[in-house]
Every structure is written in C-alpha cells, then in structure tokens.
C-alpha cells in the first residue's frame, strides 16, 4: 500500500486500536492533522497546552493499562511536552508521543520552531526515534507501541520531520515484531523462585513490599492470593495503592515518608522483605543504612537494572510480576504455613492500634483529611481518584479507601504539579461511566488550569476538589518544621475566585466552608454532568503526618508536630 507519512501514522494508530489521541497542532505536524481531520477511527481531543496532552494520554494509560497516544508539533510544542514525558517515564507509563519536526533539509539550521527533540527527550523516555525516511515509518511505529507496552513500560517518542509526513512510500504494518536487541524477560528463573519460597518458609517476620510494578503487570489478583495463602502482611508504595484493597486485613497501609506507623515498623522489624515491583525510592526507604536492616530481600522486577540499584538483593528474580507470582503460588501452598506468622501479624496489629493513621477533626473548619475520607464514604469504589502533587496528594493516598488497582492515578516519581486535571480528563475519557475525582491544591490546579476549556468543550465531567489552604502546603510544612517558619514564597492567599474562574470556562463552581456545604456541593457536582471545581476552604496549617524527615529512619517517625 502506497501512503504518505501522515496517512501511515493514522493507519498505524488504527492497527493498534487507538481510540483517542490527545494533542495540539502546529506547523510541523499539520500534514498529520490534515489526515486526522479526514479519518474517523479515533477521536482527537484538543488540549489547551501540550503538557496537558501528554498527561491526559498518561491518565488514559494508567486508567486502562493501554498505550496512551499524543501529538505535538516541533519546537515549543515539543518542549512543552517534556514534563509529560518525564512524568510518564518516572512512573513507567506506556505512551507513544508523536512530534512534528522541521523538514530534514532544515534540521541543524536553527530553523523556525526547530529544536533537537530526540536530544532533549533521550533521558526521559524509554526510547525515541527521529524518522528519516517514510519507508521506515511502519516499522518504527510498530516498534514504538511494542516498546512502550512491553517489559517495563514507558513512553516512546517518535519525531517526524514535516517532509517525511508528506513523503509517499510503501506501507505494510508488521503483524509481528522481532527486535534484534530488545527482548524483555517475562518468566522468572525457577531455581530463584524455589530459593525465594524456601526463604519465606524459613522467615519469622516476612513483609510484602508492593510497588507500582504490581499495577503495570496487572498482578493484583495474584499478589492478593499469594498474600492470603502465606498470611504475610503487606505494605504498598504510593504507586501501588489499590493493589491489595484497603479492606484487606493483611494490608498495613502505605509506607515511606508519609506512610503509616505500622507499615514502616513492619519494614524496620521484618526479617524478610518480599519486594513485588517497587524501586526502593528515597521517599520510601529513608536513610538507606537503616532501611529494613534486619531483612533479607527478595526482589521481583521486570527491569534488571532496578534490582540492586539502591540496596543489595539476596534473592533477585527478573521477570514479569504476574508471571512470577503465578509460579510462586503453588509452591507457597505446599511449603508455607500461614499460621506461623500469626504472632508477627498480631504485633503489627498492635502497632496500628498504638499509632493509627489519624487527624484531629474540627467543627469550626474543614480538615483536608475529612474531605478525602468523606468522598471515600460517599463514593468509595465508584470513583477513580487522581491527584496533583503536595499535601493533598499524601492525604488522598492515606485516607481514601482504595479497593482496586488503577483506581488511583498520581504522579509519584517526578511529582508533577499540574498532572491532576489533565490526567483526570484522560481517565474520564477512558472510563466515561466512572466518577473521576481530582484532588488538587490551590497551587497545583493553576499549573494546568487552561484544561478546564478542554473539559468543557469535550464534556469531560471531572470533579476537581481543591483542598484550598492558600499555601503551597507541602513546602510550607517543611518551612514550619525545618526552616523556622520562614514562609519563603509559599503564601498563596492572593488567588483567583475559583468559582468564577471555572464558570468563566463554562463549568460549575462551588465554594465550601462547612461539612454540610461539602456534601451538597459533591452531590450537585455529580448531577451537573460537566467539569466542576469544588473550592474547599480547609485548615491552613494542617500538616501531613506522620512523617519521616528526608534522610531520617522509618522506625523513628515524627508522629505529631508540637510548636
């Protein structure tokens, strides 16, 4: 089949069953947009900023597990997209991002809207391509989708010069893929798995340390079953919220800097850590020399470079988590007695009773944690929860009752403020029958506020709940704790009228100061069928607790803050 480069892009997306593309046109990618106009295989959603296009594709990918797709133009279009790529890369989210580039003959001349896009994206994507000839395009696009979704997933960037989008060449989309140099390992080494099971059987205080890999690998059912068979208590990272389900008695909660006391104590006192797809982030480990120092470590990960990167591993297993845990389950049934760990489980239960996750509620002012708990009570598993980055994000991770994987979409690794609204749009487009909530802050929401327009135009009814403390709250909290209350550039009390703001875009706004108003606003927002913003005036000086100060130890948490 003879096609232009642009037609090939459309055709490849059709073959990959792409149903929605987020993007923003411009000079270098106009040929592709001309073909977008002529086709009806996928819906194109025009965001109002390229960063948001990538985050929306990312939210779509996290909510579904499918590859998210976005188009941007060259130069500033691409540079705007970089934060989105880096966000997806840090959290291992599968994306294919196609950017326009100036014509090949003009590359290197500092042409209008020219930038070395592949040079910029290289450290923040899984792989990238600069397409030099349309005859390579079908192979490259096939590889791009394959690389994005296979192995440890991640974003792939394809940069296509304008003349290549116009060039006519032969197109035949490969049905199968064979790459000489890229072959991810899916099956765990049986000998290593056997050794790991023996180590578990010999342990007295084992703990499951579950990371985002459990979501990416769609391994939640297997992980739950394994935990159940073995009777081993589990902790989740921020990225893994929802894997065990919060109603599961084996789940101790989130660990790390703002994890709960019993989860962090479990890590500190365990004699065996079973790490299922985490990456030992500094926000999880605290001071490395003190991290889980009594524990032998089993680490299952599809990315070999993740194993042993931060801490030495006693039982490394390279493989897809779902696959590996499936292989572990029958061995565990034979060799592991769940009763054996009962004293350990009871000890941890007592830890939780001594220092549960808590906050002091108030009748005078809404506490941010209350707002999150309240949404959890009212919506529970009916809502998909997105967040921006900061205090509200930690409170949402702590206090929302997650019950299944992909219910929680949050920028973990990069910590990108401005992620929430566009990601929520992506999730809502993917799951139109779900309620999609974006918990955000008065700082974060302004970082992609223009996306209210996209949401209004495309009738994407996401509900933004601003936990408004008129501060850049997390930085303010650190200033309170560690900088003697010098609130340098964190007071956001000069701010827009968020109700008028959202209404000027054509959405609905609610200002909330009491609990009764909160319930009413949420109910009205659910009925409205359009994008909403609930501006919740919360306690300005509430802190996220408990806390392990940066570089501190997990067993020595700050449980409360005293003036």
């Amino acid at each position: 089949m003879e096609l232009s480069g642009s037609q090939m892009v459309i055709e490849a997306l059709r073959k990959e069953n792409v149903s929605v593309v987020f993007g923003y046109p411009g000079g270098a990618i106009m040929n592709v947009y001309d073909e977008v106009y002529k086709q009806n295989h996928f819906k194109h959603i025009l965001t109002r900023h390229e960063q948001a296009a990538i985050h929306a594709a990312d939210g779509y990918a996290r909510a579904t597990g499918e590859v998210g797709v976005a188009f941007v133009t060259s130069g500033p279009g691409f540079t705007n997209a970089v934060t989105g790529l880096a966000t997806a890369y840090m959290d291992s989210i599968p994306l294919v991002v196609i950017s326009g580039q100036v014509p090949i003959s003009m590359i290197g001349t500092d042409a209008f809207q020219e930038i070395d896009a592949v040079g910029i994206s290289r450290p923040c994507v899984k792989h990238n391509y600069l397409v030099k000839d349309a005859k390579d395009l079908s192979r490259i696009l096939k590889e791009a989708f394959y690389i994005a979704r296979s192995g440890r997933p991640g974003p792939v960037h394809v940069d296509i010069p304008k003349d290549v989008t116009a060039q006519i060449a032969h197109f035949s989309y490969p049905s199968e893929i064979k790459m000489q140099t890229y072959k991810p390992t899916y099956k765990g080494n049986p000998r290593q798995i056997k050794k790991a099971i023996e180590a578990i059987a010999a342990a007295k205080r084992p703990v499951l340390y579950i990371g985002g890999g459990a979501i990416n690998s769609n391994a939640a059912n297997e992980v739950r079953e394994f935990a159940q068979i073995c009777g081993i208590p589990a902790v989740e990272t921020l990225m893994a919220r929802g894997v065990m389900g919060d109603e599961n008695p084996l789940l101790l909660g989130m660990l790390g800097m703002h994890g709960c006391y019993c989860a962090n104590m479990a890590m500190s006192e365990a004699d065996l850590m079973i790490a299922f797809g985490p990456r030992f982030d500094d926000r999880v480990t605290g001071k490395l020399s003190e991290f889980a120092k009594h524990a032998k470590i089993i680490h299952v990960d599809i990315d070999p470079s993740s194993i042993g990167k931060i801490v030495p591993i006693d039982y490394p297993i390279v493989g897809d988590l779902k696959n590996v845990v499936e292989a572990m389950i029958p061995l565990a049934k034979e060799q592991i007695q769940a009763d054996k760990y009962k004293p350990w489980r009871e000890l941890l239960k007592r830890y939780n009773e001594i220092h549960p996750l808590r906050y002091e509620d108030s009748n005078d002012v809404i506490k941010p944690q209350w707002a999150i708990e309240r949404v959890g009570e009212l919506l529970g598993d009916k809502a998909v929860i997105c967040t921006d980055v900061g205090q509200h994000q930690m409170w949402a991770a702590q206090f929302y009752p997650f019950s299944y994987p992909r219910q929680w979409l949050s920028s973990g690794g990069l910590g990108t403020m401005g992620y929430g609204l566009p990601a929520a749009m992506g999730a809502k487009v993917a799951l139109p029958n779900k309620t999609v909530i974006n918990f955000t802050g008065d700082g974060s929401i302004l970082m992609n506020i223009q996306e209210l327009m996209t949401a209004v135009e495309n009738k994407i009814a996401v509900i933004n709940i601003i936990l408004n403390n008129q501060f850049l709250g997390m930085v303010r909290q650190w200033q309170t704790f560690f900088y003697n209350k010098r609130y340098s550039s964190t007071d956001l009390s000069v701010q827009p009228d968020f109700v008028k703001l959202v209404e000027s875009f054509g959405g609905r706004g609610f200002r909330v100061k009491t609990k009764a108003e909160f319930d009413q606003a949420l109910s009205d927002a659910m009925q409205s069928g359009c994008v909403c913003m609930i501006d919740v005036q919360v306690d300005r000086f509430e802190n996220v607790l408990p806390m392990v100060p940066a570089g501190g130890t997990l067993y020595n948490m700050m449980l409360e803050y005293k003036e």
């Binding site: 592949v118 040079g119 290289r122 450290p123 899984k126 792989h127 600069l130 030099k132 690389i147 790459m179 000489q180 140099t181 890229y182 990315d303 070999p304 470079s305 042993g308 990167k309 030495p312």
Partner: protein, 156 residues
C-alpha cells in the same frame, strides 16, 4: 570504596544517535568514562564500543545493567579476558638530542610514524599501563604533542 577500573566491550546497533545514548547515559547518571572508542563491525549492522570506566562494584554493576537497558544494545561483554591495546602518537622536535631513543622505541615496539622538517612522530601500540610508562620515559625528549587513542579491546 575504591574505584575499580573496568573495560567494557559494548555491541550496539549501528544507528543514528546510538553514541549519544551511551554517552548521555554515563553523563546523566554520573558514571566515569576514562576512554571510549567506537567503530562499525564489518559486514554487520552493529558497532563495537570499547569503554574504559571506573567505579565501585555496585556502580559497575549498574553501568552494565543500564547499558543493557538501552534498546539498541545487543551485548555487553564485561568479564573474562581481554586483549587491550591503545595507540599513542608523540611529537618530538628535531632539535632534541635523540640519544637512546632507538633503544627505547625498540623496548616498546614503537616506530617512527612520520617526520617533517621540524619534528618526528613516534607511534606505540600497547596496553594502557605500558603506554603510561612509555609516555613517562619519552618526557625527556620534551614532546610538543601527545595523542592517545583510548583502549580497544577484544575478548579472548
């Protein structure tokens, strides 16, 4: 921890930008490159890089894993025995006293690669330790320029 010197032979697809992927990986993650050479492998679509690096055992292990992780990486050869050779060119002004130079060149299997009206250029190919000692020895002839190629290596 003491830094350990390590020679890596890395076989990659010979495609656009592959060298910048490798050098970017080293720069971005703060790894050392003591030397790096690259050339296509005849009659294939592959290139071979010889990278001399140094770091702790843990860092060296990460370097190998991170190199493997790059999509165009075909193979990373890190252990076993290598023949390692490096080339050095040394320019010496003709005005110098060449007493003993012949014997020294012989000792290092060196040759005079070229000469001009003002200077001669010596060439020595050997492992990096021997090159180091040759360069130390040749100092007394007051070289005006020294070029080292970086190591190339072949596993046995």
């Amino acid at each position: 921890m003491d830094a350990i010197r390590r020679v890596l032979s890395v076989i990659v697809l010979n495609e656009d930008g592959v060298l910048s992927r490798i050098s970017g990986l080293f720069a971005g993650r703060g790894y050392n490159i003591d030397s790096l050479t690259v050339a296509p492998i005849p009659k294939t679509n592959l290139s071979r890089l010889t990278i001399v690096t140094s770091g702790s055992t843990a860092v060296l292990e990460q370097i190998v894993k991170q190199l493997h992780k790059l999509i165009p990486t075909y193979k990373v050869i890190e252990s076993g025995e290598f023949v390692e050779k490096e080339l050095a060119l040394v320019k010496i002004p003709l005005s110098e006293d060449f007493n003993g130079l012949d014997a020294m060149l012989k000792a290092y299997n060196g040759t005079i690669a070229s000469s001009s009206e003002e200077s001669i250029v010596l060439m020595v190919a050997d492992d990096y330790n021997r090159i180091d000692s040759f360069l130390k020895a040749v100092k007394k002839y007051n070289p005006t320029d020294i070029v080292r190629s970086g190591s190339v290596a072949m596993d046995l």
